[in-house]
């Protein structure tokens, strides 16, 4: 069930064209979109989440085209999204906020409420479910955001910089979560940090200035590092080779 971008063009009013007839297909269970700041990672995921409308081109998922109004709801039901910016809604508790996102995704009230605690437990926030969402720390808010994306059990999970602000321990939890999630959903994770690259990722898309520089398996990406590079440095050097001074 691939997520396909066909000839997608998108421009920002001020900074000009970002994607020019971008064609890309996501089909592996876990894909990482790697690229420097301003590469277009968030915009790519925003378009995939249907929060942003491209100028032209087509996005489709299992034959569903969100540009067709009748298919938009079905498309959105299959996709969940963790935006880069986490919003703590004043007046809502952590569990309520997660349940609210489930409700927005079409779950019934009781279903959303039941699933919200499970989603919070998956990100180890179950014990903070009754706390006001605004009172969480930055890292806890990010985990709450992950729980918001998990609550309606979508077939595609789009995560925009999900590890930003997480401590090493929580990053480990996140990796475990990805490994667990891949059994039930396909995942796209965007990041600009090469140390996020892990064996849990099957596919790497390297994006810089709106252009795809690499679209292939993790091993083929790491293989671009110079020979003799220590294992811990391979991702960084491969990334530098592609993006180099351009980034």
């Amino acid at each position: 069930m691939p997520l396909v971008f066909e000839n997608v063009t998108f421009s920002y009013r001020r900074s000009g064209r970002l994607f020019d007839r971008l064609t890309l297909s996501f089909h592996d269970p876990v894909t990482v979109v790697l690229g420097p700041n301003g590469a277009g990672k968030s915009t790519l995921l925003g378009i995939a989440a249907t929060a942003i409308r491209p100028d032209s081109g087509r996005v489709s998922l299992d034959g569903l085209v969100p540009a067709r109004k009748r298919e938009l709801a079905a498309y959105r039901r299959r996709v969940s999204w963790i935006p880069q910016q986490v919003t703590a809604v004043p007046g809502l508790r952590v569990r309520e906020q997660v349940a609210y996102c489930g409700w927005l995704k079409g779950l019934s009230r009781s279903e959303a409420w039941d699933r919200s605690i499970r989603a919070l437990e998956r990100v180890e926030l179950g014990d903070l479910a009754g706390r006001a969402s605004g009172k969480l720390s930055g890292g806890q808010q990010r985990r709450m955001a992950i729980a918001q994306a998990l609550v309606h059990e979508a077939s595609w999970v789009l995560m925009d910089e999900p590890t930003a602000g997480l401590d090493p321990g929580q990053r480990q939890v996140f990796r475990r979560l990805i490994a667990e999630l891949r059994e039930t959903a396909q995942i796209i994770v965007s990041t600009h940090q090469t140390d996020d690259l892990d064996t849990v990722f099957d596919h790497v898309v390297l994006l810089a200035h709106g252009r795809v520089h690499h679209d292939g398996g993790l091993q083929s990406f790491l293989g671009m590092a110079p020979e003799g590079t220590p294992e811990t440095k391979r991702a960084e050097l491969a990334y530098a080779r592609y993006v180099g001074n351009e980034a």
């Binding site: 989440a49 249907t50 007046g91 609210y100 996102c101 995704k105």
Partner: protein
């Protein structure tokens, strides 16, 4: 739904809207005397014309609350819930007007409801064109613009220009038509917010 109501904090605006009907009824025909220093005349701004701008300004605050990113990619349509909440706000005003009817003019209170509806619709339309902050500034200045430029001093009592609908009496069909047109436009624009947006997720306010 209750999470949506809590996230949007609609209760505050609905309560404020009802209170505005009470305040407008109590103030009655009281006016705020604003000297137009340049023309030398005094502009009488009816308090009941200005007050409905308060709940109308709060509507954009309500709609800016919540989870903008998740709402932008939602299956349910928060924009339609917003419209329903605005309808509830206006209904609360009508109910308040009806409750006040034994003591105050029901017709005058209906004019306050009409103006609230018009201001809300105006600010919703404008917010799509010029952003929510400037839209609200323009909306709260609109009653003053109406009084300053939309009052015609002819023989007899001053009349209002065709476009200055907030100044019209409750029975004015011209004013009602304009407000309804604005409401239809605002509803169409607001409903479209469910579709993917060219500019992405609106910034929180």
């Amino acid at each position: 739904m209750s999470w949506y109501m809590a996230a949007r904090c609609w209760v505050v605006s609905i309560a404020a809207a009802a209170m505005i009907v009470v305040a407008a009824a109590v103030f009655g025909s009281a006016t705020l005397e604003l000297p137009d220093l340049f023309s030398g005349v005094v502009i009488a701004l009816p308090v009941s014309v200005l007050l409905p701008a308060v709940p109308a300004a709060m509507v954009l605050w309500n709609m800016g609350r919540g989870e903008p990113a998740h709402e932008a990619a939602a299956v349910r349509r928060p924009a339609e819930f917003d419209l329903a909440a605005v309808a509830a706000l206006l209904l609360a005003q009508v109910v308040t007007a009806a409750l006040l009817a034994p003591w105050f003019s029901f017709a005058d209170s209906l004019a306050v409801v009409r103006n609230t509806a018009g201001y809300v619709a105006l600010t919703l339309v404008l917010s799509r064109l010029i952003g929510p902050v400037v839209a609200n500034v323009v909306m709260v200045m609109f009653p003053i613009i109406c009084v300053r430029f939309g009052t015609i001093y002819a023989a007899g009592a001053p009349a209002s220009a065709w476009w200055a609908w907030p100044l019209d009496t409750h029975s004015s069909l011209v004013a009602l038509t304009q407000v309804l047109t604005l409401c239809v436009a605002a509803a169409a624009i607001t409903r479209a917010a469910w579709l993917p947006r060219r500019r992405g997720v609106p910034a929180g306010t």
